[in-house]
Amino acid sequence: MKRPLGVILIGGLLLLQGLYLVAFASTVAYFTVVPEGRDVWLLRALHFTGLAAEDLISAALVGGLGVFIVISGIGILRLHPWAWLVAMALQGWTLAVFLLDYFTRGQSSYSTALLSVIIVFYLNSRTIRRTFDLVRRREAMSAGPPLDSRNAMATEPEIPAGSAKSA
């Protein structure tokens, strides 16, 4: 199936985002390991998708997330159904963090939220779901197995023993 432009854009964006996070986490990890790097104030200020990359554990988490996003970006570009789900879940995470920040601190990254909203509605559109083969799979799931196998579920009824009674 032909890859829509929006899918290429989203796939590309996810790749960029993932690679950025991997690079960012690697940088943090490097500066955290190198003693003089701990005082780089800029690292403390940087936040992405709710994870503050201030220490090694956070850096590892952000790096892992980055790898995950890179994989989902590749999946999106190759139109794999699982990649659609992963991309949606990632946007869900971003939106949840945005809403949490918004309601607790009263402010958040509006541009990130706007981008996520656009990506979610685009991925959820019928055309894109069809591109990822999700509509057909869903219909097949709700239709259930063929009738023959439905009948196979019941045990063969036993005819109770007893004498036949004429009408």
Binding site: M88, G92, L95, L99, F103, A154, G162, A164
Partner: protein
């Protein structure tokens, strides 16, 4: 219609055909009631009358009622008055307990049950539905058990399994109706179903017709199931899914509900909750809007009918079987007269209910007899047994070729009409073209030319439409001829082509949902309510707390129903919607300004494009 009421006399051939195609009814283990004759029911019944805003009155006491007397009861002239029979005497709680211990009910095992197979919302509405039983009129507790005790006593004296036959000739078919009367429908109290009511009439129809060899043979079959009608009720004789024993169709009766099904299994008929139509219609309108925005799927028309609660109707067929060559054979009775016997008087004469009138608007009242609806008008399945299952659109096998030839003749006539119209319009078009060419040299012909051009355009469009219709007509003729050839060779096409939403049993995956899922389903609503109560009492964040609680519940539901993907997608779309709303509120002025600027730019570009071209 050749024989629409019980006035038509049955011939010996009709009787023989009825016996030839008798269905085999398969029941569940634990079933308490089987088809019986109405005479024994009436012998123990009293006739009562319920006038509006008054207590029910006994009109004919117990022991004085029979089939003849029932047919002679006069209809009350007071609107809203209901006549009904009453037989069963409710048992006490202790007697019910003793009955359950001793009866065959204990042979029935519910399995994973319906709660595990339906969604959280449906379970919640079901809770309200069950609570509403306390407020609604209903069949009293212990009533079903009382009726079962009485029925078993009758069977112990004289074991009989009865159907009431009826034969109607219409649209080239012979509709053989087999009506079954049950003393009680104990679906709710014995099998976790929707309702209980005294008296129950169900029906199976076998449609016979002349085959290509001129012999009468069964060709379709239809089952009554929960008051539905239409194409989905019937199956063709050569449908490979249908089971037969010779010419006897095998039908599976729902436990307690006695609804008839073609396949053994566990069905999930849905009951529309009354008064929810308006809410459902709003939901459907919102979903249509959502679908128009390219999101989600278009909702079906059925969804606008109201909120539905699914119930399980067990038609496993693992119990008693009634019918030819089975454990118990049929005791055949008739609803029509023969040369030797009159039609039962109650068929036409009694318009009341065949059991207790509880005053419940939601299905706990007894049903009327085979002929009448509750409002006293005739049932469709009675006055139009062929149209009831949508078969009036389908010619019988021996008339199919004839019907195709007739259709081809109609298409030929239409083809000739279209050809004449095309020739006429083509001639008009060429005349107008020539007129336009002739007028071109005349300087004053401006207005005339515009009018001629308009006429020409309209005629050309008409001409194209006629040509396209003629081309389609030619294809239709070819297809009719091809179909006629197939039919002549005995090929009537896909036997399931007429089905839209047939009743099918649950899938094995649904039935085998795990024990953990069953436990979750049983406790989830109660725990949810406890959770809400705890939030109200302990937490200051009620609204977010409830949202999180519902989210967690949704996740578990999705997990048990193997639907996590849909749950994630819905959750993310909900988050995106809330975020979009917040962004809109936060940046309302810039958004409005942006929209105004975009619209302005669009208008400028559009107008400039028109001017420049």
């Amino acid at each position: 219609m050749e024989n629409p009421t019980s006035d038509g006399r049955l011939t010996a051939d009709d009787l023989a055909l009825l016996r030839r195609c008798e269905p085999i009814l398969c029941f569940n283990r634990g079933e308490q009631f089987y088809p019986m004759d109405v005479d024994r029911f009436l012998a123990d019944a009293r006739l009562c009358i319920q006038r509006p805003n008054a207590e029910a009155q006994e009109v004919v006491p117990r022991g004085q009622l029979d089939a003849v007397a029932l047919g002679q009861t006069s209809q009350s002239a007071v609107p809203g008055t209901v006549e009904f029979l009453s037989v069963a005497e409710p048992l006490t709680a202790a007697q019910v307990l003793a009955f359950r211990k001793s009866s065959t009910l204990k042979e029935f095992h519910v399995g994973p049950g319906r709660l595990v197979r339906v969604g959280l919302l449906a379970r919640f509405v079901d809770l309200l539905f069950s609570v509403s039983l306390l407020l609604r009129g209903k069949a009293p507790g212990g009533f079903a058990a009382g009726s079962a005790v009485q029925y078993h006593a009758l069977q112990a004296q004289d074991e009989r399994y009865t159907y009431y036959g009826r034969v109607v000739r219409a649209h080239g078919y012979i509709a053989l109706q087999y009506w079954f009367f049950y003393a009680f429908n104990d679906w709710r109290s014995s099998f976790h179903g929707v309702n209980d009511h005294e008296g129950d009439w169900e029906m199976v129809t076998v449609y016979a017709a002349q085959n290509a060899q001129g012999a009468i043979a069964p060709c379709w079959i239809a089952c009554s199931a929960h008051d539905s009608d239409g194409d989905d009720l019937r199956r063709r004789w050569d449908d490979p899914d249908i089971e037969w024993l010779g010419e006897h169709p095998i039908i599976y009766a729902g436990a307690g509900s006695h609804a008839n099904y073609f396949f053994r299994g566990e069905y999930m008929p849905a009951v529309v909750v009354p008064y929810t139509q308006r809410l459902a219609a709003i939901g459907v309108r919102l979903r249509r809007l959502w679908a128009r925005l390219g999101q989600g799927d278009e909702p079906s028309e059925r969804e606008a009918e109201g909120f539905r609660i699914p119930f399980v109707d067990f038609a496993r067929g693992d119990g008693v079987r009634l019918g030819p060559s089975q454990q118990h054979e049929w005791d055949a009775r008739l609803l029509q007269a023969t040369d030797y016997t009159p039609a039962p008087a109650w068929v036409d004469g009694f318009r009341g209910l065949w059991g207790l009138y509880s005053g419940d608007p939601l299905g706990e009242n007894a049903p009327p007899g085979p002929r009448y609806e509750r409002d006293g008008l005739q049932r469709k399945r009675w006055y139009d047994p062929v149209g009831w299952s949508g078969l009036d659109k389908v010619p019988p096998p021996n008339r199919t070729t004839e019907a195709l030839i007739e259709q081809e003749r109609r298409l030929c006539a239409e083809h000739d009409e279209l050809t004449a119209k095309i020739e006429e319009h083509a001639s008009l078009v060429s005349g107008l073209e020539l007129e336009m060419a002739a007028m071109q040299s005349l300087q004053q012909a401006g207005r005339h030319s515009v009018i001629t051009q308009q006429r020409l355009r309209a005629l050309n469009a008409d001409l194209e439409q006629s040509k396209s219709a003629r081309a389609a007509n030619e294809i239709a003729q070819e297809r009719c001829r091809a179909l006629a050839a197939k039919v002549a060779a005995g090929d009537f096409g896909d036997p399931r082509a007429h089905l839209h939403r047939p009743a099918l049993p649950s899938t094995p995956a649904d039935v085998r949902l795990g024990r953990l899922a069953a436990v979750w389903s049983a406790i989830s609503i109660g725990v949810l309510l406890l959770g809400v109560a705890a939030l109200v009492y302990f937490s200051g964040y009620l609204a977010p707390g409830i949202l999180v609680l519902l989210g967690v519940y949704g996740f578990f539901e999705a997990l048990f129903h193997r639907d996590v993907q849909v749950w994630i997608a819905r959750l993310v779309v909900a988050l995106a919607s809330v975020t979009a709303l917040l962004l809109l509120l936060r940046f309302f002025q810039p958004v409005v300004l942006g929209v105004v600027v975009l619209v302005g730019l669009f208008i400028i570009v559009d107008n400039l494009r028109e001017v420049l071209t």
